[in-house]
Amino acid sequence: MSAELELVQRCARGDQLAFAELVEGHKVMVFTIAWRLLRDRGEAEDLAQEVFLRVFRGLPSFRGEAKLSTWIYQIAYRACLEELQKPHRRQQYVSLDENARELPFADPGPGGVDLSQTLDHYLSKLPPHYRMALTLYYLQDRKYQEIAAVMELPVGTVKTYLHRAKAWLREHVVEERCAR
């Protein structure tokens, strides 16, 4: 039995230390996902806690077919999407879908020359699924299969999201700034 499955079984048997170990092992990634999608520290913290509640409730159904981290990040992604669907959170994003790519994007950006601040500003304009793909790409060692499994999408769709998001960011963050 894998160490991962053993940890899950210890949790399911009511071993509080085992569950604390599980949370400790995944909290930074879950919080980072929540933070990057919700962009509010307090809300991200609350949602990350909710994710681990759902993980706890779902442990008896975890069979180890996917990696534990994939399953947990899937729960985190779904929880973020649910939160972002709420009426008070509706936000305007740039549309990178195929049929809307030519629409103008009238946002002058934050100004200044700090590229990481500029990047952060433009990342906030990306639709959540593009941001999630980018987040996982850089935090999951660029493994397309893992990203596809978490987002429940074909690998080809993940590659398309990444290509479109990076092309848009490249245009607004790197090329425009360097041309000034």
Binding site: R13, F31, W35, R36, Q49, L119, R142, H163
Partner: protein, 81 residues
Amino acid sequence: MRRCDELQTWFAEYLGQVLPAHQRRELEDHLSFCPTCSQLLAAERRLDQLLAAQPLATPSPDFTLQVLARIHRDGTNRVDW
């Protein structure tokens, strides 16, 4: 011969060093005579560095205790902790 926009979709895998060898050779051949794609690749490399350098976010120090407390509070625990 492939068009520039088609080859540009390979940039991410090229920078991630996972582009298959025959495609890598084709892209590198193209880059040797296409200044537009070379400039775009340089910009993508810079973006790649910025995205990779984004820090992880750390939750509050008592995060795990808060989760355990919520499980107790919500009556989620099926077992007697």
